[in-house]
Point group: C2
Chain length 344, copies 2
């Protein structure tokens, strides 16, 4: 299957200023984010903060960051920090975001942006009120493949979109104290993994007019498996997430003239196949695009940082390709689904 | 990716008696069925019946069938016919089935078996009462890949099944008189195409404890796009069907130890991939099985005929791998979904 000129190439990003980043929450994802910035960009990570100074120091040493500090308040108070990357547990996102915004810092907040729609709305209002940039670290929105897909849809190469399906889930060993299963740490499949398929569907179709969730709860009361039917005026979507199913991590967009199947795992740089000749089943003339830019998938975390830096440089308060309104709506879908399932 | 000894080979079918078939409803699917029987089996097609004798004659000449007759009653009354294959429009299935059963003939009825759960229950009761065999022509159940899949699941190679997704749909030009859009002919996506994914899910998980459908209606009032969330005690499933979306026609089964992805289009002989090493995303050690037995996909229609002949030879009244109860439940799911959508 040839790489095809039919599929638009990803558009290059505008140059972005090299900002100074402070990291809040020195966990696994923060480590990958910092490494990606160091390897793939000229963004500077100047400080890392944690309630436990030793953790910040250990993280700083391992990831080559000059200044570890022993409290979130201290981190956001550092003059040299332009933008704070928040990767603390889900349930603390709001407090950390408000702390940073009140200290005059721009913020990029790990997924899910907030636990509830009200929280998201409130934090975005604060950012706007303070004239600061706020964005969810939904890195998938800033991958080259997201731009390829956006151009395919803009050009209506598959006609009108009538169907989107996406899944993300995995089998996790049940441990009531682990953040995945602990309701006090914002546990559950939806907030941890389900945010990916719901956000993917949103990137194509926007906010649904109705959400219907089915699923199950773990013994701790968090959702451990969920399937969401999202209804649109002229389209349907299915999002699946799980802590007890080995899911394929694929995404499909069906239209009136063809379809796009995004390679597994679609939540990282992968590739996609465009079919426009078959009305069902495999299309012998399907064409492919594959992202071969980066050897290490998690290095793609830098794209969102460069995008954020560019937007901040332009004086924006939100990501034009993933707006406050859209982020809030996605948080709302997850909240609605959790409520329907009776999840804690 | 090598063909793997981990994946069980399809089990050979028991020898079946060569029965004499009468065909009711000389349309496209009947032509493919007869050709498949002639090319791939020693089953004999002895007669074809239609309300229009000329159509029966034309079909008989084209498909090498000795006896065309000008009415369904005449067809089912022929002494030499053992079993009647019913491929008339959906809305006539019940009347044709009762005609054949009351004439003492076994029946194999095209999908969907009946339009309503009550009809299915009633027809199966009549068959049992008369000691006759009755089966839905859900050919996919009798494909070699269905047996491979059944063995994978029986051996619990993917652990407990927690997730199934399957779709079948296509873009159809809107024509209010065409059977796909005509409510008087049993139109709609669910009855025509949706029966495949719902039956596939049923083959893995059985009858759901709840059904929730979202979708849309064509101007004629039939469903033209539907997505069903099926809930089970410990699993979820999503079935999608459409007359206005170019769907991939794939099926996935996710479990607690791995997953199976059935190649597109899963509704014909295709192949499958078994992943047992990755808890999400692609498994580098995934193994494949591909069905290369037949050059012409529709020749696989003969498998169900041989299966039926074998069961009839054993004196059974139902297919042990696709029971009356299960067929009735699938018809019930389709009926429930249509009712939820307000479809005619």
């Amino acid at each position: 299957m040839p790489e095809s000129p039919i599929i638009p190439a990803p558009r290059p990003r505008q140059p972005a200023p090299a900002l100074k980043w402070g990291i809040l929450g020195p966990g696994g994802i923060a480590g990958r984010f910092v490494d990606a910035l160091h390897r793939q960009s000229d963004q500077q990570v100047v400080a890392v903060g944690s309630r436990a100074l030793a953790r910040a120091q250990e993280f700083a040493a391992r990831h080559d960051i000059p200044q570890p500090v022993g409290s979130p308040a201290e981190l956001v108070g550092l003059d040299e920090v332009d933008v704070v990357y928040i990767a603390t547990p889900h349930d603390s996102h709001r407090a950390m975001a408000e702390l940073a915004l009140n200290a005059g810092k721009h913020i990029v907040v790990e997924k899910p942006f907030m636990m509830t729609e009200d929280d998201a709305r409130s934090v975005f209002e604060l950012a706007r009120h303070n004239g600061l940039f706020a964005m969810e670290a939904m890195w998938t929105r800033y991958l080259p493949q997201a731009d390829v897909l956006a151009q395919i849809l803009e050009a209506e190469l598959i006609g009108e979109v009538t169907y989107v399906a996406a899944d993300f889930g995995f089998v996790a060993n049940y441990d009531p104290k682990h953040r995945l299963f602990n309701p006090d740490l914002g546990g559950g499949a939806l907030l941890d993994a389900g945010v990916y398929p719901v956000s993917f569907i949103s990137s194509v179709l926007g906010a649904p007019r109705a959400v219907h969730a089915v699923g199950s709860l773990a013994a701790t009361g968090v959702d451990d498996h969920a399937q969401l039917s999202l209804s649109y005026e002229r389209a349907l979507a299915c999002a699946v997430t799980s802590l007890r199913s080995a899911l394929p991590v694929t995404a499909v967009i069906g239209g009136t003239k063809g379809r796009v199947e995004v390679d597994s795992p679609y939540i990282r740089p992968s590739g996609l196949m465009l079919s426009t000749k078959a009305m069902w089943g495999p299309d012998p003339d399907a064409v492919r695009w594959t992202d071969t830019a980066l050897a290490e998938p998690y290095d793609a975390l830098h794209y969102q940082a460069i995008a954020a830096a560019g937007y901040i440089g332009e004086g924006l308060v939100e990501s034009p390709i993933h707006t406050h309104q859209e982020t809030t709506a996605v948080v709302g879908v997850l909240e609605q689904a959790r409520r329907q399932l009776g999840a804690r």
